[in-house]
Amino acid sequence: MEKIIRVKNLTKDFKELRAVDNLSFEVTKGQVYGFLGQNGAGKSTTIRMLLSLIKPTAGSIEIFGLNLFQNRKEILRQVGAIIEKPDLYKYLSVLENLKIFAAMSGKRLSTPKLLEQLAVVGLADRAHSKVKTCSQGMKQRLGIATALVHNPQLILLDEPTNGLDPQGIVDIRKLIIRLSKELQKTVLISSHQLNEVELIADAMIIIDKGKKVMEGKVSELFDPAETVVELKTTDDALMIEKIKQAGWQNIIQEKRSDCILLKLHKKDIPSILQKLVKLDIPILSFYSRHSLEDYFFSLTSAKHVLAATDN
């Protein structure tokens, strides 16, 4: 499989702070590659290095098989990006902004062509509105349009659903899947909304404090048959005691200050629930949490943050 991005031993230091630490990963053509990590984990710094906005302290970046810093212009002609929030020229119209970034990408597109691009992100009817009159969601859509306007082969999206309403998030998700599956574009998407990445990514990397924690195909990283259930009762400590007495202690994942996390196979949920009811401790709530999110928290320092919060 053709490798579109090949990152080797990438490191970036900002004075005393090591933002990215010896990071290596590869992205295959046509893949949607999830880039996960908490705020400050080094996601944006890595994406900025992939766009040559930041120079690495050490390591190498190859895109389309070429060294990024020796072939910057050639590579960037085939790359579209959104970095964090899409800041645009507020005093210009939506159409004028798109025209500017198309031209900077080396594309001279006619107004009808640009309007077609705006229609893809649902902004055709706002083409002549000044950007300063647009909502955050509209700006985000326009940011995506500027990233796609020159028909790039590689798309780097740093938190692309920030500021979007639920429908907007669904639309962007569909767009990314279409870009990957129908148009064979390679997409690298960073997000803190882990369920977003789970729904669209083929593979992902999880980083923490600049280091790789885990990398692989989403389907291999967690068992879709398993889930984590959050159980709240009137007396959690007693409930744990009774679960242990019943010999089911292997289902207890973690005791938190306000709940118990149980790791269960989805098919076992009805029978386990019945058994818990029979333990005769009033159950306040019992619901399935997002499995990838728990997986993520178990791998990154968020776990420690949560533990600290719980204490």
């Binding site: 900025r48 766009l51 040559s52 906005l53 930041i54 120079k55 910057r72 212009k73 050639e74 960037l76 002609r77 790359v79 990006a81 970095i83 929030k85 899409p86 800041d87 645009l88 020229y89 507020k90 005093y91 210009l92 004028e96 500017i100 970034f101 031209a103 900077m104 990408s105 080396g106 001279r108 940011g143 500027t146």
Partner: protein, 297 residues
């Protein structure tokens, strides 16, 4: 690609309402000076001539000829060319820092444009803006004054006396003076660019540039002998006023000014060279820093 990028930059500058503050300011100042001189010019020029009246006698006919469009434009240039660096710094100081502040710098630099190319395009665009300001000045201060006050021979007041330039010999001098002013203001632009690269909002570079212009201007104009040879020759502000040299003419043995002559062209060329050197040094340093810089905004 260069022309396409330049068109984009010019569009960004001229679509921005704040750009027109400078144009408006120039129009207001020019208009106010013209109105004042139109209705009370005689007392203003009596004041100007006071220093010379001990050694010269001026009849009313001379005074009438004296106040004409060419002289008024000279007065306006003298006033405005001191203020114009602020107007230039407003745009040049904003060039990179403003983009960083808006967040558009990072998006622009993900496009297939080299940082040096980006800087050159920005700098050329700010030069064109400076030219636009000067053209506006030329239209309203020179042509406007010629229309309102008429034309005649131009009188130039100097500390050692007055010079009379034939009206047929004036216009090319203005052309040269405006050209020189463009280079002088571009020096201010280059300084503002350097600060703009270092900052992440426009206010800092604009204030820093104006502070430098102010301090250098004060030093240039101070009559302290110690500074005359040590600092003044190297301050760009010493050389920005050299445009006046185009209006200082040579005279023949009978004291009649020689058409087409310039009293000290080598001094003007030397000043011009120093300004151009300033531009290359400041812009060069700015571009070098910009190429090395991590874009974190």
């Amino acid at each position: 690609m260069f022309w396409q990028l330049l068109t984009i930059e010019l569009k960004k500058i001229f679509k921005r309402p704040r750009t027109y503050i400078a144009f408006g300011a120039i129009l207001v100042i020019v208009f106010l000076i013209q109105i004042a001189i139109k209705y009370d010019g005689k007392s203003y020029f009596d004041l100007l001539l006071n220093n010379l009246s001990g050694s010269f006698e001026f009849d009313d006919d001379f005074k009438h000829k004296f106040i004409n469009g060419y002289l008024i434009c000279f007065v306006i240039l003298n006033t405005l060319l001191i203020q114009m660096p602020l107007l230039v710094a407003l745009v040049a100081g904003d060039a990179i820092a403003g983009e960083a502040n808006m967040g558009t710098l990072r998006l622009s630099l993900t496009k297939p444009v080299s940082r040096t190319e980006y800087m050159i395009v920005k700098f050329v665009a700010s030069f064109i803006y400076t030219i636009a300001l000067l053209v506006l000045m030329a239209i309203f201060a020179l042509l406007g004054s010629m229309f309102i006050f008429g034309t005649n021979d131009m009188v130039v007041l100097r500390s050692e006396g007055i010079e009379l330039i034939k009206q047929s010999d004036v216009l090319w001098r203005y052309l040269a003076a405006f050209g020189y002013a463009a280079i002088a203001l571009t020096t201010v632009s280059a300084i503002a660019f350097l600060f703009s690269v270092l900052a992440e909002n426009s206010i800092g570079p604009i204030i820093a540039t104006m502070s430098i212009v102010l301090v250098f201007t004060i030093l240039s104009q101070m009559n302290i002998p110690f500074y005359d040879d040590t600092i003044k020759p190297y301050l760009f502000t010493t050389h920005t006023v050299a445009w006046k040299g185009f209006f200082y003419v040579k005279a023949d043995a009978s004291g009649t000014t020689i058409n087409g002559s310039i009293e000290n062209l080598p001094a003007i060329m030397r000043s011009l060279g120093i300004l151009v050197m300033y531009i290359f040094v400041f812009f060069g340093i700015a571009t070098w820093i910009f190429n090395k810089k991590d874009i974190l905004t």
